[in-house]
Amino acid sequence: MSSAMKMYGKHRFPGRLFIVEGIDGSGKSTQLSLLHKWLESEGYVASFSEWNSSPLVQDVTRRGKKKKMLTPMTFSLIHATDFADRTEHDIIPPLKAGAVVLADRYIYTAFARDVVRGVHPEWVRGLYGFAVKPTVAFYFRTPLDIAMKRILGGRDAIKYYEAGMDLHLSEDDDIEENFRIFQGRIVEQYEKMIDEFGLVVIDATLSIEEQQAQMRQIVTEALTGTKKTRIRRWLDLASLQKGSRA
């Protein structure tokens, strides 16, 4: 942090940041990975950022979860720490270089989860004040039943914090029931954030192809404009380097 810290909406980078949000089982990761492949085929170098970064921070998160040591506040803070590391290492440098950055889940995931856990909505928004505002934030809206079917059909076990078991939302701590209630509350939070943050809603009940076509159209528009040539130039340089190595 040698230069002064910039706050949400105040960063000016030549690159573009596209992020996807939605509950588990909304199909957002599939869509983002299709977008990634398409961007590369179009000649853009897109870097990809997920909810895990520095081994040190990850280690604390993993241990905290495994041993059930996390309270709503420390759950919130350790994820913010991890996100800060992503921002400082994986997001800001490529954006400065004029690249396209793709993120699977972003600050809105934290706002939804932490508020459901009882953390104050304004406090958590302030906490993430250092985050770069995305060029476009896609929200994959999914009926809870469809998402639940995908999750419960696809995996052996839902994890403790993922299901919101720390909140004890169901009688007799039934994990599936708890998960359903928890995800339902997360959806309520997402719905509130659509206007607040200008999330672009994608109907996740449409076919995969149709959702992808919508995304590509919006992304294409966001990539055109004054900065495009600059992105191109940087990318040409990158592909030249790639070529010379081959």
């Binding site: 942090m1 040698s2 230069s3 002064a4 810290m5 706050m7 520095s54 040190l56 921070v57 280690d59 604390v60 241990r63 905290g64 040591m69 996390l70 309270t71 709503p72 506040m73 420390t74 803070l77 350790i78 913010a80 720490t81 800060a84 590391d85 921002t87 400082e88 290492h89 856990r117 009882g118 953390v119 104050h120 304004e122 406090w123 302030g126 906490l127 004040g129 250092f130």
Partner: protein, 239 residues
């Protein structure tokens, strides 16, 4: 009416009415003798029949060990490091300090949010941002700020442990060597602490005297804080 309050919105799920103990903070830059005085105060308070919990930075069960490792490797960025410290602090607040206060202990803490905010600001964090982040913390009953001038600080550090990478702010590249960097870094921290004196109601203690003199001063002030049962507001608590 609860004795304690949070700076802002506070921790979820904490009933302030249950907190009975006292929260006493020792603040100051590196090398002013905070840990010596914590040890002496603890002994003295225990001799007088009080139960005491002493705590300090990077000692949390959750993040302490990894945070110390992160400092050694110094690969984390400024915002990340500031939030890592906040995580460590929150874990200690919820799992050490609050349970002790509930049980009626005197909690003596070596540094509190003020040091963490000063360090973050010196490393470029937005002052309003970091202040809001620490809005979940409890307002202490008393904050004793051990203050020495930068020249005295240099003498002390040379006599004791020598210049340390972090205490010299070497990650900030402020000077050509550890000495230059130490002077610049500690001066910047002192400026931040001095700015906080009024707003947070620090009791400033001149720590340039002998350990005995400083400790006598501290004992008087702690006795006073313990007698004082009303809630201590962050403003207007000057002696």
């Amino acid at each position: 009416m609860a004795r304690f309050s949070f700076f802002a919105e506070g921790l979820p799920g904490i009933d302030l009415e249950e907190l009975k103990g006292k929260l006493i903070v020792l603040e100051g830059t590196d090398g002013v003798g905070r840990s010596t005085h914590i040890t002496l105060l603890k002994q003295w308070l225990e001799n007088n029949g009080h139960a005491v919990l002493d705590t300090g930075m990077t000692r949390s069960a959750l993040a302490g060990k990894r945070l110390r490792q992160a400092k050694e490797g110094h690969t984390l960025g400024g915002v990340t490091m500031s939030l890592f410290y906040t995580t460590d602090f929150a874990d200690r607040l919820e799992n050490e300090m609050i349970p002790a206060l509930r049980a009626g202990f005197i909690v003596l803490t070596d540094r509190y949010i003020y040091s963490l905010m000063a360090r973050a600001i010196v490393r470029g964090a937005d002052p309003e941002w970091i202040k809001d982040v620490y809005g979940f913390a409890l307002k202490p009953d008393a904050i004793f700020y051990l203050r020495v001038k930068i020249d005295d600080l240099i003498t002390r550090v040379i006599q004791s442990t020598g210049f340390d990478y972090w205490e010299s702010g070497m990650d900030l590249h402020l000077g050509e060597d550890m000495y230059d960097s130490f002077v610049e870094y500690q001066s910047r921290l002192l400026t931040q602490f001095d700015k906080m004196v009024e707003g947070y109601g620090f009791e400033v203690i001149d720590a340039s005297g002998s350990i005995e003199d400083v400790f006598d001063d501290l004992k008087n002030r702690v006795s006073h804080a313990l007698k004082n049962n009303r809630e201590i507001a962050p403003r207007g608590t000057k002696n």
